[in-house]
Symmetry: C2
Subunit: 313 residues, 2 copies
Amino acid sequence: MKLVEHADILNAAEAIADVATHTPLIPAAWAGSLWLKPEMLQPIGSFKLRGASAAVAALPDDTRGVVTHSSGNHGRAIAHAAMQRGFACTVVVPDTAPAIKMRAIRDTGARLEVVPPTQRASRAERIRDTEGYALIPFDRHDVIAGQGTVALEILDDMPDTDTIVVPVGGGGLAAGAAVAAKAIAPHARVIGVQPELAADAVDSLRAGELVEWSTEDRYRTIADGVRVGLAELTCAHILRYLDEVVTVSEDEILDAITDIASHAHLVCEPSGALSLAGYQRHGAGWGRTVAVLSGGNIDPQLLSRLLASSTDG
Amino acid sequence: MKLVEHADILNAAEAIADVATHTPLIPAAWAGSLWLKPEMLQPIGSFKLRGASAAVAALPDDTRGVVTHSSGNHGRAIAHAAMQRGFACTVVVPDTAPAIKMRAIRDTGARLEVVPPTQRASRAERIRDTEGYALIPFDRHDVIAGQGTVALEILDDMPDTDTIVVPVGGGGLAAGAAVAAKAIAPHARVIGVQPELAADAVDSLRAGELVEWSTEDRYRTIADGVRVGLAELTCAHILRYLDEVVTVSEDEILDAITDIASHAHLVCEPSGALSLAGYQRHGAGWGRTVAVLSGGNIDPQLLSRLLASSTDG
């Protein structure tokens, strides 16, 4: 299987320079030898803008339109990137997707097709075939390369980083970041974090091959952004390049969200807070660490409840 | 009266480069032709780190210690900057200061002296005289120069900025930013925002001289960071360099906090949200605008209540 290479990530960085924000490293001495990479500051509130923009940038100017399927940030990112280039865009979403995420996609100007979950992929493929649209799922080489630009920025800004910590869901971010880090800074470790309730990457690393968890199992975690499992392509990168995957409990995820709001003044979604939670539980020996906060699209009611029960400021 | 000059701000920028974060410009197309400058991402959660670090950096190595008086972010900023240089530090706080802010100052390692409000300045001066400490109040040239580095960064990152919007309380940020902007980009306008309930800068600009509001009047606003009035020195800069001061209502401030959390994924304190509130009410003709979100030290219970009543995501 052909994997993403360092050169692909450098190309992606150039392609997205005008669209994605170079997020700063925020010192988080309150948590240890830690810096935060706040990807919720991207225009759509998530690192997924990077991969989507890289994939859309690679399309020819005469592209008729773009289609993808997603229930969350990837669909919104593709829609945003497509609109920026003036392409028509259709996002196929399962009818189980939260209304708030559907609205965010529609707000970009993209067309929404709501289907039963089992028809996601087939409907997107049919639109590709009948409309002549380019299909961009999340597990593509150029999407992974785009996500990897996160690590380029981290290692540019702080070359003596010892450890980069990322959430692992579909695995695109972990895959891209690990490829970039191993190429630029072989001394740096890249560690993934998953909820205990959705730990397919832990099992996959142990088995040396993709181990799938059932949808029912994965959907138990509150971290909705990582309920999707690894794909064959992302798993291949993770097996080869990722150093380790650790897990955290649901309570540790919620505590991390509150800490991020109180101490770092950032609004973080549950899956985005996995990296801090992982550092807080396992990071004692990790040295100078950067935790990637991957997104901020949290239900305001959930954040409100967490803040109400916090005693911290 | 000697005013701060462009060269002072360039010197301050060099002095604080290792301490302050160069905050990014965050596109906020959801609000208009607007970018946000998120100063809550500074280590102590406020732009005040800039001025405090600049003033502390200018002290000689054999300084015996640093003293200031403040009930909020300035005291915390001075304490943080002093500790970074290994200086002893005492912060004199009025016994009316919120416990949460006292704790934040104490957490830096600084000594706290709690006094009745009327004794703030005199106690700080006595410590200067008896201990030989350097006294750094907020209305000093090097503090104003440090605050002005915000505008340097904005105009470096986006030279075609038409308007920079800043909250106005003591006036240090408005003063420094206006000096910097007029020197680098004479075409750019710098506009201050105050609560309707604490609008001494509006009256001062109209009168052409410092017009003081009573403490009782100023303390009606929820924006605790701007309850302090202008000082003679900051007012002199504002009269000479600031283009305009506009006002907003208390409800507009609260709505802006919610918008910033929902759309920009940032935790903003009431005074920090003044700039967005000002843009939302008055900004139709302001062109490409940067709103400085000056700080994020909001009571978590207040943010919780605002999010609970929001319908937005």
